[in-house]
Structure formats: structure tokens, C-alpha cells
Symmetry: C3
Subunit: 208 residues, 3 copies
């Protein structure tokens, strides 16, 4: 495994996902009657919350998103976009939002899995950390909005991240390079998420 | 203090408490209209959340429950039991649930206190960390369900963990071995919890 | 920069802010129907929560407020004051509460910024960490009470902490000593908070 290869890949996908998730997090603030500060906090928490939880858990402190000012800058830029251009942001067709969100989910899942592997975590834990990276920010956002995190109730969302992370790890064990293992996992996560939306797939609910 | 004695004791009680709390956490998911993923997340968070918070606070990262795959496996096994056998789980008499929960509470309180002492924390902090280990997972579960943590409102629950932890530390200072100090603290916590349920003891509420 | 100067300043303002915030956190418990334990937990979380999050993020574990028993003792003392003297605490005029809260906010913002600088964080991150130290405990309190954190919705509260932290960092870059930079930042934060209350300033809300 080429460490530099993994690390530069990690950085690029992290930044792309950060902006995507910041825009989404800021948009969610509309439902909570938040002010400009609230929008910024939600954009920041959604964008970098998952990565910060992952970094705290593997002991990579200070977290990457605090050590490098570009994460915070991108997250706040996303928040500003939402706040000042919300008419345009609201006008974006839902399908575009869902596709971009699926892309962010996939990027974060593979970035999180990759970082856990760089820190020599066992496979099961790398899957867990990849998933936490992908969905942790959204869970934090929902906690700030005092509502049950959506992903615990419906949709194939965290599940797509889990599957993508599993595919990435298996591909790595089968001998694929870091880059191709990550691409395989990301594509599977992305397609599974979109397919599940299109076909209205849900996990079974708990019977009563 | 025999370190190996303390550490092996810690491991055994941790695993037993993990399964107990996972089953309980998964069961709580029924009230939140969660799907299979939600049940798994609640089982995991309830089972290992308290220990993870403790480990983050004392700087033992990655947390024990992420380094050893058996914690996650037990937690998810507990979640599966609840999800697929919920008719049977729901049929368990309340008294059995309460007794098992009191056992889990006691196991985690002494495991948390013991680990804090192994990390050379002062007594007051060891009591705090023992209590956080015991009740932290339940608090996380309630936060995920967007409700005020029950233990902040009524019952002798965290209080029993505090008293058990205090007894364990005093017993240790009086010269008892790690094992016997832990057993003393655990038994006191367990009995106090059950006694308070039986006699409907509550802490005073804030007057208005 | 005299490190000892900064550190002793940090310690003094931290203790003063801890007691102020504990009293406030405990008072907030009245709205959540909490018992004695709940009041203690809210006093503790509000008082030391922000500092603990800051310490976890910069890797200063165990957090200062767990290593030194005086933080916990002060926090619980504040909780006891509220619980047993709540008639008198409730009788304190609102203006006094608001002024004391503004003082606590300022103390924590500069203490958090100072500690982040001692740990060699870049300026943007020091501002973020100063603000988290100042408002993190209040956010934790609101999460425990299952409500959307107030500071995300209205008031110049976190914003005052941000501005105070920015002033402190600029003053330091302009060559002021740690002590005077901190005092400048704290005074600006304090006055901005009170001025905004007096003049009913709010940040813009997100349009709909």
C-alpha cells in the first residue's frame, strides 16, 4: 500500500465532500428557525462532524479538519452560499440534491475507511469508522435540531456507506491498489444509495 | 494492586455488561420507530457508548471497544436478538429486565472505576468516570431518541452507580484486593438499585 | 509570550467562569423537571462541557477539568447552591443573571483562545476553540434538555465570543502582552454581549 497515494486521495475527497455536506447542513437549518450563526454551525457540524468523531476515536488529534484551515473555510463558505443564495439553493431540483448527497456520502465513507486503515485499525472497525465519517455529521446536525436522526428511521443511507466500505476493504484484500479499491467502494455506495431512492428500498422496521 | 488481576476482571465484566446493555438499547428503539439500522446503532451506542466516552476522557484511544472486535460483535449480536426475536424479548417479564439492567449498571460502574484507577485518576474523577461508563450509553441512546435522558428526571439509577463506585474506592483504600473491592462496590450498586425500585425511592425534585 | 503568565491567567479565569456557568446550568434544569442528580449533571455539563470538548479536540487529555478536582468541586457546589437555595437564586434580578452570564462567556472565550494558542493552533482554529469553550457547555445543556440550542436561533451570544476571540488574537499580533490581549478580548466580548441585549440586536434569520 502506497501511503502517500492513500493520503493524497484522502485529502482530495475530504475537501470535495466537505463543501457538499456544508451546503446540505446549512440548508437543513431552514427547518429549525436558525439565524446566521446557526446556519454556520450546522454547515460546519454537518461537513466536518463525522471526520472529527473518527479522528477523536482513532486518536488523530487535533483532527485533520482543525489542523488544516481549508476544511473550516470550505464549510463556512458552504454555509454562506446557503444563507445568502438560499433562493437559488432552494431552487435546485431535488434530484440534483440527492445525487450530490449520495456523492458526498460515498466520498466520506471511503475517506473514513482509508484513514482508519492508515491507522492500522482492524477491518470491522475500519468499516464502522468509514460509516461514522460518512453519516456522523448528519447525525450531529439532527441532534442540534433536537430530532431523531433520520437515518435511524428509514432509507438505505448509512447502509450504503457500510456496503461501500465493505466492498473497499474486500477489494483491497483481493489485491487492488488503494486508489482502485476506494473507487470500487465509492461507486458501489453511490449506486446503491441512488438505486434505493429510485426503488423506494427501506430496511425492515421493528415489528410491534 | 495486581494490574493483571484488575485488567482481566475489567475485561470479563465489560463483555457481560456489553451484551446486557445492547439488548436493552435495541429494545428502546421500539419507541422511536427505528429500522434495522437504527436498532443496531442504538444497541451499539447503549452498549459501548459509556466506555467510549470514558476512554476518550482518559486518553485511552482507540477505545477498548474499538480495538477489540468482540465488543462490537456482542453489541450487534444483542441488537439482532432484539430485532428478530422481539416477540420473545418483549415477553420477558419486567422484573427480569430490571434485574439484568441493574446487573449491567453495576458491572459497568465497577469496570469504569477500575479502569480510571489503572490510569492513575484521582478518586473523585474515578467515581465520575465509573458513573459515566455505567450511564453514558443510556444517555447517548436517549439523545438519539431526542428525549430528555430519563436518569436526569427520576429513579435511583446514576446515584446507585455513584454509591457503588464510592464503596469500591473506600474498600480499596481500606486494603481490600481489587477483586473484592470491585465485588463490594458492584453488590452495593446492584442492591441499592433494586431496593430503590422496590420501595419507589426517588431523589428530591427541584421545587418551583 | 510568557507561558507561565498565560497559564496562571488561564487557571484563574477558568475557575471563576466554572462557578458562574454551573449556577446557570443548574437553573436551566428547572424547565426540564429534573431531580437532584439532573441538576448536578446540568451544572457540571454547562460549567465544564465547553472546556472538555476543547481539550479533547486539541489532545489535552485527560481534560484540565478532570485532572484538577477543583473544577468538579466548584461545578457541583454551584449545582447545590441552585438546588437548595433556588428560591433565592430565582429571586436574583434578570439583569444580574445576564451580566454574570456575559462575564462567564467572556472569561471562557479568552481562556479557550489562550489555551488553543498555548497548544500552537493556527489563529482561525484558536477562534473556533475559544468560541466552543465559551458556548459548548450551554449547547450540551440544551441537548440534555432535548431542545434546539438557543444560541443557534437568536441573540448575539456565540457571536460575541467570536468577536472577543478575534480581538484578543489581533491584539496579541499587534504586540500586546498575553494579559492585555486577553483583557481586551474579554472586555469587547462582555460589552458586545450586553449592548446587544440592551439594543435587542439579532443576527439575520434565514429567509424562507
Amino acid at each position: 500500500m502506497l501511503k502517500t497515494d492513500g493520503e493524497s486521495l484522502l485529502f482530495a475527497v475530504d475537501l470535495a465532500g466537505t463543501l457538499l455536506f456544508a451546503i446540505e447542513g446549512g440548508s437543513a437549518a431552514a427547518s429549525g428557525q436558525l439565524d446566521l450563526l446557526g446556519v454556520m454551525v450546522l454547515a460546519f457540524a454537518t461537513a466536518v462532524g463525522g471526520g472529527i468523531i473518527r479522528d477523536l476515536l482513532i486518536g488523530a488529534v487535533p483532527p485533520a479538519s482543525l489542523r488544516d484551515w481549508r476544511y473550516a473555510a470550505l464549510a463556512f463558505f458552504g454555509g454562506f452560499l446557503v444563507f445568502f443564495l438560499h433562493r437559488y439553493v432552494n431552487g435546485i431540483p431535488l434530484v440534483v440534491v440527492l445525487v450530490l448527497d449520495a456523492a458526498g456520502l460515498s466520498l466520506f465513507a471511503i475517506a473514513g475507511t482509508e484513514k482508519a486503515l492508515l491507522y492500522k485499525m482492524p477491518s470491522l472497525v475500519a468499516i464502522l469508522l468509514g460509516t461514522i465519517t460518512a453519516v456522523g455529521g448528519g447525525v450531529l446536525r439532527d441532534i442540534f435540531l433536537a430530532r431523531v436522526p433520520r437515518l435511524l428511521q428509514s432509507d438505505i443511507y448509512a447502509t450504503a456507506a457500510i456496503v461501500g466500505s465493505v466492498v473497499m476493504i474486500i477489494a483491497g484484500k483481493l489485491g487492488l491498489s488503494v486508489r482502485w479499491a476506494a473507487i470500487s467502494g465509492g461507486v458501489v455506495c453511490f449506486l446503491l444509495r441512488l438505486l434505493s431512492l429510485w426503488l423506494h428500498w427501506n430496511l425492515p422496521r421493528m415489528g410491534r
